[in-house]
Symmetry: C2
Subunit: 157 residues, 2 copies
C-alpha cells in the first residue's frame, strides 16, 4: 500500500499560507510542497469546504488562510481531509461465519481502535499555532529571523 501523505503535506501548506501576505496560487504551493498544482487543489478542497482556507479565481487569486492558526486543530484538518484510513493493517472481514475468525478479528480491531483513539486525541491537542511555534523555534536554532522569510507572492518577479 502506498502511503497517504496528505496530512503532513497540508500542515506544511498551511504554515506557508500563514506566512504569506497575499494569496498563494496552487502552482506556488505545489512548488513548495514538491508536487503538482492539481494535487494541491484536490487536497485543499476539503479544507476549503470546512472553512479553514478560501480560494479565489482569476488574477491575484489563490489560497488564503481563513482562520487564525490557533483555531485550527490537527484533528479538524484530519476530518477536513475526509478522515482518511489510518491503518495499513486490516482486521479481517467482519462478516465471517467462523467464530475463531470472529475472535481473531475482534482482538485485532480492538487494538486498532484504541490506537486510533490515541491518534485522534493527540491530533485534538495540537493546533496549527503550536506548529508555527515549533517552526519558529527551529528558525531560531539556526540563528535565523522568521520575519525575514515572510513574503508576498505577488512580488515574485
Amino acid at each position: 500500500m502506498r502511503q497517504d501523505n496528505r496530512m503532513p503535506r497540508v500542515l506544511h501548506a498551511l504554515l506557508h499560507l500563514d506566512q504569506m501576505t497575499g494569496p498563494a496560487t496552487s502552482d506556488l504551493l505545489a512548488g513548495m510542497l514538491n508536487t503538482n498544482a492539481a494535487v494541491v487543489r484536490r487536497t485543499m478542497a476539503g479544507l476549503r469546504d470546512q472553512g479553514f482556507v478560501t480560494s479565489t479565481k482569476g488574477h491575484g487569486g489563490g489560497w488564503v488562510l481563513a482562520k487564525p492558526l490557533s483555531e485550527i486543530t490537527l484533528a479538524g484538518i484530519y476530518d477536513a481531509l475526509g478522515a482518511p484510513k489510518l491503518f495499513a493493517l486490516g482486521c479481517g472481514n467482519e462478516e465471517s461465519h467462523c467464530l475463531m475468525e470472529q475472535a481473531a478479528n475482534a482482538a485485532t480491531a480492538e487494538a486498532l481502535r484504541v490506537a486510533s483513539e490515541t491518534f485522534l486525541s493527540a491530533l485534538s491537542a495540537i493546533t496549527m499555532a503550536d506548529l508555527a511555534r515549533d517552526y519558529e523555534t527551529r528558525m531560531k536554532e539556526l540563528g535565523l529571523n522568521p520575519d525575514d522569510y515572510r513574503f508576498d507572492a505577488s512580488k515574485i518577479p
Copy 2:
C-alpha cells in the same frame, strides 16, 4: 493501498491449530482462512522462525502449535510477522530542508508514534489464550460445545 490482513489471519490460524489433535497442512489451513497454501506458508514462516509453531514435511506433516496459547502474546506475533507497517498515513519525508515541512512532519510523526505505542501495548496485554476464551464464549452464546469441534485432520476422508 491494499490492506495487510496477515495479523488477524494468523491469529485465526493459531486458534484452529490449537484445536487440532494432529498437524494441519497448509492446504487445510488455506481452506479455513479462505486463501492459498503458498500464502499460508509465507505468512506462517515468521511464526515458525520465532518458535511459535513447527512445520514438518512429508506424509502426516504440516503445522503444529509449539507453545501453549497462554505463552503467545499478540505482540509476539506482530513481531514474528516482521512488525509490518502499521499506518496507511505517512509523516512525510524526514529529509526535508524546509523548516516548515520539518515542523509539519514532526507533528504528524509524533501523533503516529503515540498511536503506535498504544497499539503495541494493547497487543502485549493480550495472549492467544484470551482469544481462545473469547472463541469459547462465542460458541456457548450459540449453545454449542467447543469440544465437539475439535478434530484430527488425518481423519478427514
